[in-house]
């Protein structure tokens, strides 16, 4: 079991990591960042939770489910959800690459729209690459968390 210091630090640090991951994801189409590094940072936030609170914390502590005794953790419903996130992200990426073909454009062509007078932002630029980035994000989060929870249970 980890110490109180470790658990308190994890409680403070995990939201910071998630906010950094979100900002890297949003600015990804015109600055360094994007889906991959945002996914890796989100995975490190979950890894910190696993290290500080143990492998059962997400299933029992956050979601409030009871774990059936004798069941291996790789059969948890959380792990099945991670696998679903992986396939969902792969589907989103492939679909966002195929959509330009409907408009007689090459595979994976991207475009963007600009909004003026948006509250809080003023000028907002929405790139269609964000959909592809979101797919990459889901693939990275799902794949790395599946590896982490299955290998961590060994």
């Amino acid at each position: 079991m980890t110490t109180v210091i470790m658990r308190t630090t994890a409680r403070a640090v995990v939201p910071i990591i998630l906010v950094v991951a979100l900002s890297l994801f949003v600015e990804g189409h015109n600055l360094p960042g994007g889906g991959f590094i945002a996914g890796v940072l989100t995975t490190t936030a979950f890894a910190l939770l696993y290290i500080a609170f143990g492998l059962d914390f997400l299933e029992r502590g956050v979601l409030g489910r009871d774990i059936e005794p004798g069941k291996t953790p790789s059969r948890d419903r959380v792990v099945i959800a991670y696998r679903r996130v992986f396939s969902f992200g792969l589907a989103i990426s492939v679909a966002s690459g195929l959509v330009p073909l409907l408009f007689d454009l090459p595979f994976l062509s991207q475009t963007y729209v600009e909004f003026e007078n948006v509250p809080l932002y003023g000028h907002l630029e929405l790139a269609s690459a964000l959909a592809f980035d979101f797919g990459v994000y889901c693939v990275v989060v799902g794949g790395l968390l599946t590896i982490l929870s299955v290998v961590g249970a060994e």
Partner: protein
């Protein structure tokens, strides 16, 4: 950037350049501890110090060139270094990383 005739940016640039040289030298000194360190915790602490020094190098480089993206680099490196240190410390003390 402020007026170049004021002299303060020159002083700042010199200070940052000196700090960059100092931190790079510290990285070399830490690598000696990584290679020769008698025990595993010695090597872990040295590697963590090298990671912190690389964060400092990124921030100093951002100050020198005025590019904000290196601050993002330092932020991500600091997070990864923290996770690495915590997991190695738990591995050394308890023998397993995730229970």
């Amino acid at each position: 950037m402020s007026d170049p005739t004021m002299g303060a940016p020159v002083l700042l640039e010199m200070t940052v350049a000196g700090a960059l040289i100092l931190v790079s030298g510290l990285c070399v000194l830490c690598s000696y501890r990584v290679i020769r360190g008698p025990t595993v915790p010695d090597r872990v602490v040295a590697l963590d110090t090298i990671a912190t020094n690389v964060v400092a190098i990124a921030v100093l480089f951002a100050l020198l060139t005025g590019r904000g993206l290196f601050v993002t680099v330092s932020l991500v490196l600091a997070i990864i270094g923290f996770i690495a240190t915590v997991s190695v410390a738990k591995f050394v003390t308890e023998g397993e990383v995730i229970e």
